[in-house]
């Protein structure tokens, strides 16, 4: 498939995957915490498009998009979200904790900023093993206010590690607007304090994200150290399924960002450049929906993990005090 069509396919997959999880959540097939990535598709897809299969990423609590963009298996993802034994983590992790080292995904994280030092460690191991892999650490505007971020920025620069700090500035930390949490106009300028390049890119433009990431990747592979990229994007939906913060935003804000939608943007470019026809795009969308239907069927039909097996696996579980 043409590369640009592949970018479109991945973004459509993420959006439709999230729509499906929303539906499955309402049916209680998915329970607990669920954070939708709708609106932010271009950042994950653009960043991962600049990576090799053996490069690493570290994800966040809002991580479905990262997993799909890095080549994740939709069936194993959805089965994990449904708590089934066939899921990526055998039903132990759920939505916020997708781990797939085979595709370079070293885990989501339920603690905002918690995964950033882990990315530092993965990058350290890359240097230790003297390979030319790179690590992309996804985090948000919110996480850039955590101490872990500042500590990790300092150490990554100090030791020249092959780490790309990829900020998804989606304008809100849970319900709090970024202007109320950041002491500078953008996260990228904080890079200067750690002696590394910082760049702001249009996070709704998948190709711009890919190009910026490719530049940072090239620096990292050449041993020139870490970079910070701030992708300016927008979360269309609430922070999570039990909040309604998206309904309390300034009037017209969401609509304004939707007018700069990452999927529409690339579709228009493909049509303008005559690299795809409307029919091709419609058929691409249909094939995504078909794959998701298969994944949904797989997840629903999969068995739950066996509690007895789990108990046996965890001898130190002090089970005699449970019942």
């Amino acid at each position: 498939m043409k590369e640009r069509l592949r970018l479109l396919e991945l973004m459509v997959t993420i959006r439709e995957f999230e729509e499906l999880t929303r539906r499955l959540y309402k049916e209680h097939v998915i329970q607990g915490a669920l954070h939708l990535y709708i609106g932010e598709e271009a950042t994950a897809v653009g960043a991962c498009a600049a990576l090799r299969p053996d490069d690493y990423i570290l994800s966040t609590h809002r991580g479905h998009g990262h997993c799909i963009a890095k080549g994740g298996d939709l069936k194993k993802m959805l089965a994990e979200l449904a708590g089934r034994r066939t899921g990526y983590c055998r039903g132990r992790g759920g939505s916020m904790h997708l781990f797939a080292p085979d595709i370079g995904l070293m885990g989501g994280n339920g603690i905002v900023g918690g995964g950033i030092p882990l990315a530092l460690g993965v990058a350290y191991a890359v240097r230790y093993n003297e390979t030319d892999q790179v690590v992309v650490c996804f985090f948000s505007d919110g996480a850039s206010n955590q101490g872990t971020w500042h500590e990790s920025m300092n150490m990554a620069a100090l030791w020249n590690l092959p780490l790309i700090f990829l900020c998804e500035n989606n304008q809100y930390a849970a319900t709090t607007p970024v202007a109320d949490t950041l002491c500078v106009p953008d996260v990228a300028r904080r890079a200067a304090g750690y002696g590394m390049p910082g760049e702001v890119v249009d996070g709704m433009d998948v190709e711009a994200v890919r190009e910026a990431t490719a530049r940072a990747v090239s620096r990292a592979r050449l041993g020139e150290g870490p970079s910070l990229i701030e992708c300016v994007t927008f979360r269309y939906e609430a922070h999570c399924m039990v909040l309604a913060d998206h309904r309390k935003r300034p009037k017209g804000e969401t609509e304004r960002w939707q007018g700069h939608d990452p999927i529409d943007l690339l579709e228009k470019r493909l049509l303008n450049d005559k690299q795809a026809t409307s029919e091709e795009i419609a058929s691409l969308r249909q094939s995504v929906l078909d794959k998701l239907q298969e994944a949904e069927f797989f997840a629903r039909e999969s068995e739950f993990p066996d509690p007895e097996e789990f108990r046996a696996e965890h001898e130190r579980g002090n089970w005699q005090c449970v019942r």
Partner: protein, 333 residues
Amino acid sequence: MRQIRYTQALNEALHEEMERDPSVMQLGEDIGPYGGVWEIHRGLLSKFGPMRVRQTPISECGFIGLAVGAAMSGLRPVVEIMYIDFITTAMDQVINQAAKLPLMSGGAVKVPLVIRGEQGSGTREAAQHSQNLESWFVHTPGLKVVMPSTPYDAKGLLKSAIRDDEPVMFLEHRLLYGEKGEVPEGEYVVPIGEGIVRREGKDLTVVSTSYFLLKVLEAAQTLEAEGIDVEVIDPRTLMPLDINLIVNSVQKTGKLLVVQEATVVASMGAEIVRQVVETAFDALQATPRVIGNAHVPMPYSPVLEDTCMPSRGDLLETIRQMAVGTRSKRIVS
């Protein structure tokens, strides 16, 4: 057999494990040219280089997280926390990351990590440098907790901890660092999870570990002259705990005293009593007890610190009372 100091035993373990396995590395403050403030890293930097002996900024949360990420990627990091009190700045990485990632990932990643450092009271360093935090870590599923009390165990258990595929909290005591003990020249390990009977006796079981164990052994020696025969058990590992060794002893003596330096409320001592009461209640001939530090932040002034810790006299008196007491004559403290 040769006698070496506790810190030398730790240093030997680090040298030997780094020679044996190229994935073993060190992280911590001041561990480079200076060799660590406790001198446990002596000679490592010049032998293994900065990639494997990484001196860090004062960023405990960041470098423990780095160690977790490196462990997920196949390395075997050993992190030094200069004072265990400082780990509070890194608790997310210990509790939410290191302890949980193996399970949450469904086994997709392992975290073969050792976090080692000294703790303890009694050195007049005030409340932020005088804690004993082992019970916090025991309380957290996903961590192993080791507390060696002799140079022999320090070396053998550190080697086991480094080879373990799970995160291990390796808690030392700074007043043990200068203690000497027999350590053989050759290779050996002490398995995690095995306690040891330090002294056999028939009147009372005293469970203690780390620096307090030395005081308990001295007290047992003193009381022998009074005809009190104390059995002393050193669990060496608190998670997993060798509860059978303790229960077997209590079944013989009928009495249990746990002596610890940590504050007692919701502590390891309380946990040991719970387990013994639940599994061997009928064997108990006296009310089991725990003595340890008072439930206050440790004050600085020597006279105040001393009043917060069980003294030699307190220890002797508690053992004497328990040795003669019975369950029908409950001892109220």
